[in-house]
């Protein structure tokens, strides 16, 4: 059991900076996800925590113990690899027990633990098979089992679900979350899939260009993204963005974009006031966009996609396309006129010069979606 702390961790590969400066604290028994687009440095960060990659600078602590000088085989970590990396010449049972053998655990105990782990993952019938005789999902379970059989301080998972088909991935997400609850250990999970990050994590660290953009709970990240990147990366379908200008109209602050005018909340704060007269980017999640017969900004239906319970309607507003998520059924036809209502209390406002959020939605959208629709 361990708290994992990163201080100013940095990694360069021959002059190319992969991880610029990452400081994070992963609490004991926490499930923390590093999420970001490919090349953002998330996997490199994980490999440095693991000890597979030497750090160019900074320090990693396991329970306040610095570990930078220790190679992977001396650190108290277990890992699940993206390609599973099962040993092809060993049976499932040997794969599971390999680390314990290296740790000089008595044979009898290894056998019991292998059986336990296999039973908990539902692979007890596969123990004598070789990896190449297993399906993708079965291999994934063995890879997982090879990590959880260990009594490690931290469990590191590097995109463990990315090679599975969609159906299986959904099942495994739930199973992983349950596993974490049962094991009550520190999990550090790397993925590029923001859905995985949202559904499983206690906290999410969104990374880009070797830097952590925001580290917070999934609710917080979704409701109050710290900058444009986090806002655009997290959430599916993604947030709508409109570039415009903040104007002062007497006491009120207005955001204007072509025909769109949104009145910004009164208690918007000093940061918004400073933007008055400047350019700004307004963001709003599709579920916070309402479609009405009239009373909002007029536009035309561009396309409507059925998502199941909801319909994702793309509306053309002048030059821009705005997506709205509305409950099914929706009977608007292509090119039909429609009126778009942007709920003022749900808008985000970003400073385009540095992408920083200057105004976040007042309430966590995910929590009161019903009301906004």
């Amino acid at each position: 059991m361990a708290e994992v702390r990163l201080e100013n961790v940095r990694k360069e590969f021959g002059g190319v900076v992969a991880v610029e400066d990452v400081s994070l604290t992963v609490a004991d028994r926490e499930f923390l996800t590093l999420v970001g687009p490919s090349g953002c440095g998330k996997s490199t960060t994980l490999r440095m925590i693991c000890g597979l990659e030497r750090m160019s600078g900074g320090q990693v602590y396991f329970d306040d113990e610095p570990v930078a000088h220790l190679p992977a085989n001396k650190r108290d970590v277990a890992m699940v690899f993206q390609s599973y990396a099962l040993y092809p010449h060993k049976t499932v049972a040997q794969n599971l027990g390999f680390a314990l053998r290296n740790l000089r655990v008595p044979k009898a105990e290894i056998a019991t633990r292998v059986d336990e782990v296999a039973a908990s993952l539902g692979i007890e019938k596969l123990l004598e098979r070789k990896p190449k005789e297993l399906s993708g999902g079965q291999r994934q379970r063995v890879a997982l089992g090879r990590a959880v059989i260990r009594d490690a301080g931290a469990y590191l998972l590097d995109e463990p679900l990315s090679n599975l088909d969609a159906q299986l991935r959904g099942d495994m997400r739930a199973e992983l979350k349950r596993l974490h609850a049962d094991l009550r250990r520190t999990f550090i999970y790397v993925t590029h899939d923001q859905v995985e990050a949202m559904t499983m994590s206690d906290r999410i660290a969104v990374m880009k260009d070797g830097l952590v953009q925001q580290c917070a709970s999934p609710e917080e990240i979704y409701a109050r993204p710290a900058n444009l990147f986090v806002a655009s990366f997290m959430g599916s379908p993604p947030m709508n963005f409109l570039s415009g200008e903040v104007q002062r109209d007497g006491e009120r602050l207005l955001f204007r974009h072509d025909g769109v005018t949104v009145e910004l909340p009164e208690q918007a704060g000093p940061a918004v006031n400073e933007l008055a007269g400047c350019e700004a980017v307004l963001g709003i999640r599709p579920e916070d966009v309402r479609l009405a017969g009239e009373g909002g900004v007029p536009g035309q239906v561009f396309v409507a996609e059925l998502l199941g319970a909801d319909v994702l309607v793309t509306v053309r507003l002048g030059e821009e396309l705005v997506k709205a998520r509305v409950p099914a059924p929706y009977d608007g036809r292509v090119n039909e006129g429609v009126s778009v209502v942007l709920a003022p209390e749900k808008v985000h406002l970003f400073d385009p010069s540095d992408g920083r959020a200057v105004l976040a939605a007042r309430a966590a959208s995910v929590l009161d979606r019903g009301e906004s629709l």
Binding site: R47, C50, G51, L52, P71, A72, N73, V77, A78, M79, F81, Q82, S83, A85, L86, Y87, P88, H89, F98, A99, N102, L103, R146
Partner: protein
């Protein structure tokens, strides 16, 4: 249709071309001297006999004189060849594995150049280095010992061994090594318990290649050996051939003995050999 006919005619023709010469010495090796000399020849042994092979262990007085005692020396020469070829294969694998691992995993400065330099050493014919080699071995007092031969053959086979292994090692995913590290293996343990077992096919191909190189080599053996303490089977077989008194049947039997070990190896591992040889050479 004509294509099929041409194909089968060619296939049968080649099959005969490949097999008949070898069949002939096998045939001869099971004949009595008198039958072998008959005109026209027997294309099957009429009175098959294993006498020729028995003679190697228990030569008659007349046979003992042939080719400076070649008959009696044959079993020892086979043994010498086995020892030398096996040792060469082992030494090559050990040295080759280290070098090939560094070529396949660590992109160090000048690695490409070094790799090509290794290969270029094979451009120099053995004859060009045989004299200095002889003198070095004389200085080290290794003449007429296994050591001289094993050292020579290692230099022959090592560049190719490295090449074969390097190509094979590159096919092994890096994540497997990472997984082993996380599973608490140091480098040597990782190599021994994970990397090398997975590389088995490449290692076998390289070992067979080294074994064959050592088994077949003649020129260095001719220079470096002088007695049956280290003479290998090609040297003894040549003694049969250069003596006019040699019985054809005995010579054939010695030839068959010299072919059996490499032939068995090749037939057991044919798929590996074809893969291994093809891997590095043809990528275009």
């Amino acid at each position: 249709m004509t294509k099929k006919v041409v194909l089968y005619v060619l296939a049968i023709g080649f099959a005969l071309y490949l097999v008949v010469p070898f069949y002939w010495i096998v045939n001869m090796s099971f004949m009595h001297e008198a039958d072998a000399a008959s005109v026209p020849p027997h294309f099957l042994p009429d009175n098959p006999t294993a006498d020729n092979y028995v003679s190697f262990v228990n030569p008659s007085a007349k046979e003992a004189l042939v080719g400076s005692n070649a008959v009696a020396d044959t079993p020892f020469a086979v043994l010498n060849s086995l020892v030398v070829a096996f040792s060469t294969a082992v030494v090559n694998l050990v040295l080759g594995t280290f070098a090939a691992y560094s070529f396949s995993r660590l992109q160090f400065r000048g690695s490409q150049v070094l790799l090509i330099v290794y290969l270029l050493t094979r451009m120099v014919p053995g004859i060009a280095i045989i004299i200095p080699f002889y003198l070095v071995m004389r200085t080290l007092d290794l003449l007429d010992t296994y050591g001289a031969l094993i050292l020579s053959y290692t230099t022959f086979a090592l560049p190719i061994t490295i090449w074969i292994l390097k190509d094979y090692f590159r096919t092994i995913p890096l994540e497997l090594e990472d997984a082993a590290r996380v599973d608490r293996c140091g480098w040597f343990r990782m190599m021994w318990t994970v990397f090398l077992p997975i590389s088995a096919p490449g290692l076998v191909a390289a070992a067979i290649f080294s074994f064959m190189t050592a088994w077949n080599e003649f020129m260095f053996a001719l220079f470096m050996t002088s007695t049956i303490a280290s003479q290998t089977i090609p040297v003894i077989a040549a003694n049969f051939a250069t003596d006019v008194e040699t019985q054809v049947t005995m010579m054939a039997a010695a030839g068959v003995l010299a072919v059996v070990p490499p032939l068995v190896l090749v037939l057991i591992c044919q798929r590996l050999i074809v893969q291994g040889m093809a891997a590095g050479s043809v990528k275009g």
